[in-house]
Symmetry: C2
Subunit: 356 residues, 2 copies
């Protein structure tokens, strides 16, 4: 039987949710995790999509993630809450943290949720999009296990600690920045490795510190920080907020999801939610955003450039396209998902895209 490579996003989401449920994840949590993975695929961020199903499951099965763990507020003062995720799924903890930050923003103008005891929480955009829908601005960051050297170093010490920021607009598309602090997201190198493709020079160094175009050598070595010392410093401040301040791991104490099978990851996150209407009327804000975005898009273009893009714009278009045309997955990922389906008595084939 030939495996399909193109999937209907709704059906694939259902398949993933069911897989997680059968692996012992509560239904509500399974829905969040599947939603987060599929949204990443739809936005074209394959590295954070259903490709992660296998590793998430593996950590649950190995007892290194606890889908039943209680997510608790361990400390709170007015506008801030410190949350212990108890080693539950990152996106489940992140969703709870987002709610706490947004609730506080409604009362105090700004709300903070600082999180320890978490795991890989998917894309930051996942949370930013939810905040935007409630007319809030969100800054969200997370630390991650060691993948980049500090400036002047030769081996991984800091993570590619991501930063995401979302802000709504009116008639224009919202602003969504979601970036790793590396030249490129490490996930892109993972995808290149899975596809057997080379990577551009400048993305990474090998384990001896030499520049490399070999994706596997890069994964064994270090990703480089964006803008040299600037990316190093941004990654470090994200770690200070997400890790040092929260009680989560930081630097070498954030455990690798793929390699450490003895301990939980102990990832930390930091959510800052701003309730726009407390600053200026939301309609005024949105029309100012529209003005800003329109002016940017009307700027003269460099030769060969068709269009000035706003951060997040491509991903919105990609989502529309893939919702209509289906999500195409690499064979390796499809095989993995089919195998997982078999283990949990679920049929991946049912999620195949049907031309109408």
């Amino acid at each position: 039987m030939t495996l399909p490579l193109r999937f209907d996003w709704r059906k694939l989401e259902k398949f993933c949710a069911r897989v997680f449920e059968r692996a012992g994840v509560p239904q509500e949590s399974a829905a969040i995790i599947a939603d987060s993975l599929i949204q990443a695929d739809l936005r074209g961020v394959e590295s954070h999509g259903v490709v992660r199903t296998a590793i998430y499951l593996k950590r649950v099965e190995a007892g290194r993630m606890d889908p039943a763990a209680e997510i608790r507020i361990v400390n709170e003062t007015g506008a801030m809450a410190l949350i212990d995720g108890g080693n539950n799924f990152g996106s489940v903890i992140g969703t709870k943290a987002l709610q706490e930050a947004m609730k506080r923003a409604k009362d105090f103008g700004v709300g903070i949720a600082a999180v320890k005891g978490s795991n890989h929480f998917g894309t930051g955009a996942y949370y930013a999009l939810k905040a935007i829908a409630q007319n809030q601005i969100l800054l969200v960051m997370s630390n991650a296990s060691q993948t980049m050297p500090p400036t002047g170093g030769v081996r991984p010490f800091i993570g590619t600690n991501p930063l995401a920021v979302g802000a709504p607009a009116g008639e224009q598309l919202p602003f969504i920045l979601d970036m790793a602090t590396s030249v490129v997201a490490r996930g892109k190198i993972i995808v290149a490795s899975q596809k057997g493709e080379a990577i551009p020079l400048g993305w990474a160094i090998d384990s001896d510190g030499n520049p490399t175009t070999d994706a596997d050598a890069a994964l064994a070595g270090s990703v480089l920080p964006v803008g040299g010392p600037k990316g190093y410093a941004i990654s470090m401040f994200i770690d200070i907020l997400s890790g040092v301040l929260t009680g989560a791991g930081f630097g070498k104490y954030v455990n690798n999801m793929y390699e450490n099978w003895e301990q939980p990851q102990n990832v930390g996150h930091f959510f800052i939610a701003l309730d726009i209407d407390k600053f200026i009327p939301i309609d005024v804000f949105k029309s100012r955003m529209d003005d800003y975005i329109r002016s940017l898009k009307e700027e003269p273009k460099a030769p060969g450039v068709k269009e000035i893009l706003i951060p997040g714009e491509l991903e919105f278009r990609q989502t529309d396209r893939l919702k209509a045309e289906g999500i195409t997955l690499p064979l390796k990922v499809v095989e993995e998902l089919a195998e997982i389906g078999k283990r949990y008595d679920l049929e991946l084939l049912e999620a195949a895209y049907q031309t109408t």
Copy 2:
């Protein structure tokens, strides 16, 4: 008479404060402005040092800055305050905003001061250092007039909107990130222009969009964002928080300090203060910071690298050195200051460094 090139930092600070006072700036404000300028010189950030005295004065004298303006809270909810600077000096407004943010952080865990109606506020590190001294973490950002093209554009549209983050440590030096969102701070190109030096390729494009090493051509053209689309997006989110959200200028509505003599700058800032002790005990935080910093500094080094540096470390050393050895200024700046001194009946010579 030969002009001195080396100055005693205390005496130079006094000279600057007196100049501003005689130009009609209230004594308390003049002290803040001088403190901010001298601290920048001491940290080796010449671009934000006493070199700015002339342009600040020129804007006051032209009626484009109002040193007597009231700085008012126009809107507040719990942990946030929206402040209208009334077109006073940026560093005076920034100092007031910092106090407001820090006061709220003490009560609510986090405090926000969002600022409109301001001017160039000096370095972000100026505020971060004050927050650290009170055991708070500070994120501070500001927008700025147009100097960088969006990705795909050819002319300046967004500012090199700076981001600064400070966090205290225990035995180690504090963490201080203070960066422009350009490959390098535009101020460095201004300094190169004043010194008549070339700039490295990749820092900027000329007004036709071509790469250039000519500092003057770069100033007439555009500085480039750090990391391409990532720097563009970071600059934009800083503008959204500092400008779109506050009611200040944003994008093309932030007026150029050097070129626009018709209108105030209407710069916006955004301060986020976090009271560390509300998250985890301050001593625990500091010892975790020490552990983090020590581990980083002990990392193996790339060939030719003597030392792994923590963001801000060089600037602390520079400060110690220049406090002892004096601040050396370029002749052009000294001539300008001497001329200003004459205008206000003050003798720059008295600030000269004396070997003991």
